[in-house]
């Protein structure tokens, strides 16, 4: 049976004034001192000297050191042995953090249980025996918090106040009697995260005691009017509240909790916090059990608030079931966390789930080294295609292909090379590679098996030429059928090749003729050649040397409108000698007069 052990401490007025009258053996002096310091009870003067002072009880909760807490009740006892008013008795129970965790770190739950079982005492004799009390956890847990019906805005305000109470440096004031306040606190504690619960000290009747606690209570009675500044004041009976503070935008988590709480979902929230706590503490089994029982909205919240921890734990525990349940929410960052577990990675890839595949593909383009994972790309067609699409969208991340090229030969196939080359071609206008990266990629490409298809040869040669752009690459490119390339690329290559030929010092004519013969689109060839010659800074003599071959090529063009245009251009570029002499004479003679004379 899981149990909670409680030590006891009584603070009351005896023969020597207030003192620790009785306590469980082993309670150290420092612990007693803290308990004494927090066991205070004051009444307003008007009630102090009344013939029938109220017998209000109060409940307190506070820390004792880092690993223990006190849950106590103070009872007003009227006058002491000397007839002085202001006599009271405190019965404190000391619980370890470990045990309070069994009760979801909800001290009010424990208080209600202790009250219900009449375990709080009103009298004590000095030195009386105080044994440890052991409670069955299940029994205490039956004290389920009674839900409070509050509107969402108020719940949100309360939660924001609680979550920021350290920053705001003021207390929350609750107006009501002790029972109302403790019921409210029981419910409130179920809404706030575990990390906050242990620091939310409270005192349900804190008249005259200053802001010692995060949450203070006062009866809703004019006698208990007290000045002070509070971050929030809430009257539990009327639900009226006052408070204004600025803590910035509401987090989605708090907003969601407020939403659920406003629909009386306190139990769901408590379970959510409990699951989160188990997760954070590394109790994966406990976490899974609670997570499994949580409604989807709670699951969403848990995942949103603990994403990294959850994914890390999933990967560490190879929890395929949970991983697959989260598939729709995974991001490249999550994949990064899962990636050390290759089995899980393969599982995700094997799902073939489009979104998952795209996310994994996107992850491949994140900065970290992925070389160990590149073989995965070849295990799934979907992943390979998605990866290439991703690369096309991100030319700046093209360096990933350099790494890919190292493993590619192990998985080589013509289809894969074709798809890779098409991707590279699409990237080429914007690709960002260093010289070394380009060289490495080229080396990999040229080391591929000799292409069986002309198209692949052209593509490969073209990509190599575009990556490194030297004459050797151009020569190789010209050996290939560049007409298989996309028109824009083809046009660009042709232009580049023609410029090189015209500028070269060798046998230009032969090179031009060879290229012409190789080029399927003769008209494009002719246009490009004229473009080059028209703007070329080649000396006139050189141009003249190309006159014959240009005119011959132009004459060989098929008839058509474009051919006519080309011929006119060629005629202007290379006028006939007679025509050119007439033109020269005309210029020497000057313009004709009106009557035709010069």
């Amino acid at each position: 049976m899981d149990s909670v052990r409680l030590r006891q401490h009584f603070y009351a007025s005896g023969d020597r004034g207030f003192a620790s009258m009785a306590f469980t053996p082993g309670l150290r002096r420092e612990e007693q001192s803290i308990l004494e310091d927090r066991s205070l009870y004051q009444l307003p003067m008007s009630l102090l000297y009344s013939d029938n002072p109220p017998t209000l009880v109060k409940y307190v909760f506070h820390k004792i050191g880092e690993h223990q807490f006190a849950v106590g009740r103070g009872t007003y006892k009227g006058r002491d042995r000397l007839g002085r008013p202001g006599n009271y008795l405190f019965h404190n129970f000391i619980v370890s953090k470990e045990d309070l965790l069994k009760l979801h770190l909800n001290p009010s739950l424990l208080t209600r249980f202790l009250e219900a079982k009449h375990l709080f005492k009103d009298t004590v004799s000095e030195g009386e025996s105080c044994d440890v009390i052991e409670l069955a956890t299940t029994e205490v847990e039956e004290m389920v918090p009674r839900p409070f019906t509050l509107d969402k805005v108020l719940i949100l305000t309360i939660l924001q106040a609680c979550c920021n109470i350290d920053t705001l440096q003021k207390s929350i004031l609750l107006r009501g009697n002790a029972d109302e306040i403790i019921d409210f606190l029981c419910w409130l504690f179920s809404l706030v995260p575990y990390s906050l619960r242990e620091s939310l000290s409270y005192d349900t009747q804190s008249f005259g005691l200053g802001p010692r606690n995060k949450i203070v209570g006062l009866p809703d009675d004019p006698e208990f009017a007290q000045s002070g500044s509070f971050v929030l004041t809430l009257n539990l009976a009327s639900r009226q509240y006052q408070g204004s503070f600025d803590v910035g935008a509401t987090t989605s988590a708090i907003g969601a909790i407020a939403e659920i709480a406003s629909m009386n979902g306190g139990v769901e929230i408590e379970n959510m916090h409990s699951a989160q706590h188990s997760l954070v503490k590394g109790d994966y089994t406990g976490f899974k059990e609670k997570y499994g029982k949580a409604p989807s909205i709670s699951k969403d919240l848990i995942f949103a608030n603990n994403r990294w921890t959850m994914v890390t734990q999933i990967a560490a525990n190879s929890d395929t079931e949970l991983l697959l349940s989260l598939e729709d929410r995974l991001t490249p960052e999550d994949i990064a966390v899962v990636s050390p577990n290759l089995d899980l990675m393969r599982l995700l890839v094997d799902t073939g789930h489009r979104r998952t595949i795209e996310v994994i593909a996107a992850w491949f383009l994140t900065p970290e080294n992925k070389e160990n994972f590149l073989p995965l790309l070849f295990e799934s067609r979907f992943l390979w295609e998605a990866f290439l699409e991703e690369v096309k969208r991100s030319p700046k991340q093209a360096s990933v292909l350099v790494g890919l090229s190292r493993v590619f030969p192990h998985f080589y196939s013509i289809r894969l090379e074709c798809e890779l080359l098409e991707t590279l071609v699409a990237l080429l206008p914007d690709i960002k590679l260093t010289t070394d990266q380009a060289q490495e990629l080229v080396q990999a490409l040229v080391a591929f098996p000799p292409p069986e298809m002309e198209g692949i040869r052209s593509l490969r040669a073209y990509v190599v030429f575009r990556l490194i752009g030297n004459d050797l690459a151009l020569a190789e490119l010209l050996k290939a059928d560049i007409s298989l390339l996309p028109r824009e690329d083809y046009s660009r290559i042709l232009r580049g090749a023609l410029e090189r030929i015209v500028a070269a010092s060798g046998d230009r004519v032969t090179a031009l003729l060879a290229l012409f013969a190789q080029t399927k689109d003769k008209l494009l060839f002719a246009c490009q050649l004229l473009d080059v010659l028209e703007v070329s800074t080649v000396p006139a003599r050189t141009r003249q040397g190309l006159r014959e071959v240009t005119l011959t090529l132009v004459a060989a063009l098929p008839p058509g409108e474009l051919t006519e245009t080309i011929r006119i251009r060629a005629g202007r570029l290379f006028p006939s000698p007679q025509t050119s002499k007439l033109g020269t004479i005309r210029r020497l003679l000057g313009p004709k007069t009106k009557d035709g004379a010069n």
């Binding site: 023969d15 020597r16 207030f18 004494e36 003067m45 000397l82 007839g83 002085r84 200053g210 010692r212």
Partner: protein, 307 residues
Amino acid sequence: MSDSSVPSKVQRMKCPFCFQFHDDSTTRCEERDLEIPQRYIERVNENVPVIPMLAIGFSGHGKTCFLSSLFHYLLEGPLSHKWPGFNWYGLNSETLNRVRKDYVDRMQRGQIPPPTPGMFKWEDGGPLILELQNVPRFVRLRFGRWGIGRQDVIFLFFDIGGEACEDTEKILKNFPFFQEFNPLTILIDLTMLIKEGDEKVSNAMQRMHQLMNMIYVMPPEITRTQDVLICYVKADRMWGQSHRFGPLAVKTSTEDPTPDKIPAYLDEFEDLEQNRALHLWRVSAFLQRAQKQFQTSTFYNSFSLGL
């Protein structure tokens, strides 16, 4: 900023809360999170002396009543007639409110104050800070002579519960600046001790020894520079019982002295015959301890509820 060493020209103000020296421009004690009253700062800078007052004693031995009676006397008594120019001021609103509400009004209504909490509650605003003006004091007169003159004095009154006095550790925890209280006042209700002894609740001598022990463990380097006033309270319960209380049973004059009669008035209290009362209870060790531990020891008796 604080510096507990001898203050330089700049650091002149001793904080009434933490007793560290603060810069002149400081208006808040960071250690206690309390505003230093502006009037206090001004008056200290005008060299008005500051005297912290603390009465210690067991629970129920009349510390709060003692203070209530003192305040009542200061505020409502005849001193303003007897002492020319005498006046009093609360240097912050907390003092004014608490002196009236928690001490004087209760006393006037004949209400016994509730037990004072064992740990000093700083959140109530710290000590009560009262300035008394034109108080007759021994001052250095012209030509190097000492005599009764008039002086303004700021008093800091601390009230602590009897539980704190059950052991020195608690006192020193409450007041790490213990050496600032000079004189230190110890209140003893002999009648209660005897009563408890008679009822076998506790042994009177044991309680006196406990008190002695408490004094004994106070750091001697602190107490050697302190004066102690030992005051037997609830004197009305001792009157007429000379067989038990010796000289303490004698009801002394309650006539308030005018300033010129104060020296004679004070001389009365140096009558060592009062000490014999202690011998009656065979607790001379207590007397000897007090005399050895403190710079000077003086014995009084008081009747706080006498109006």
